[in-house]
Amino acid sequence: MVVDQLREDELDRLFQAFADSTRRDIVRRVTVGEYSVSGLAALYAMSFAAVQKHVAVLERASLVTKEKRGREQIVRGNHEGLQKARRLLDEYEAIWRQRVDRIADILAEG
């Protein structure tokens, strides 16, 4: 079901994006508030260019959006993410409903 709705290459980008701890940290921060790329760069012991690269990976995975504001590039969490979370919770519910059905079948055996 998940694979039907999310194309394989989208999944590749998504998992590549979260396989790195700095990128996971960036996602956590920009989900709560907006940051400029230079603001993010100040948080990590790495160059502006390296942080910019991480943001680009996250952008390709549709986890964040980037927008120019004056001289700054503003990074925000992608709101479609919340919709995705809702869908995922629905699918997780389906998994557990199936498990409960299997448990009921086992218990019915006596």
């Binding site: 079901m1 979260f18 996602v27 995705k84 409960v100 218990l107």
Partner: protein, 165 residues
């Protein structure tokens, strides 16, 4: 219908399900306590789970894998954080590589199971808290037969990336 209610919290990335079974609490507890019985319902029919290791005690670990129609394997582990038979069970659930070693980068979910008996019937509540949306996505794929093949491919890709890093 066995499922009596579900609650989802998008911000907290949590999911709670309540189900009622026509059996006593000791019997329902066995379905969690006995890995051979757990294997009969944890995985979808086309991706059955095999628990290779099952130290059912607080601090103990369990290791399992799920086997697909083409012989594909997807591994996972549990760490029991609290066991109070036959009423309450808590564990962390994460992904494992082909050797059963935890893949920390993929996060864990925390699961709390409570069982309550009333008049010979048992109410089971399963509360799950996810660490991140990405991790929830992977967990959903692990549980869905339609998503399993893709999930195995993703785990392989992440493991390969870590091996090359």
């Amino acid at each position: 219908m066995s499922v009596t209610g579900t609650t989802k919290n998008l911000e907290a990335l949590s999911f709670t399900l309540t189900a009622e079974f026509d059996a006593g609490v000791e019997r329902v507890w066995q379905l969690w306590e006995d890995p051979r019985q757990l294997e009969r319902w944890w995985g979808p029919p086309t991706w059955p789970a095999t628990f290779e290791k099952f130290d059912f005690e607080a601090g103990g670990k369990a290791g399992y894998y799920m086997t697909g129609p083409e012989g594909e394997k997807a591994g996972g582990w549990w760490r029991f954080t609290s066991i109070q038979p036959p009423a309450r069970l808590e564990f962390d659930d994460g992904f494992a590589d082909h050797n059963g070693a935890p893949v920390e980068a993929m996060g864990t979910t925390h699961v709390t199971v409570t069982l309550e008996e009333d008049g010979g019937r048992t109410t089971m509540t399963v509360a799950t808290i996810f660490e991140s949306e990405e991790q929830m996505e992977q967990m959903v794929q692990m549980g869905m037969e339609e998503g399993m093949t893709g999930a195995v491919g993703q785990i392989d890709a992440i493991l390969a990336e870590h091996a090359n890093a």
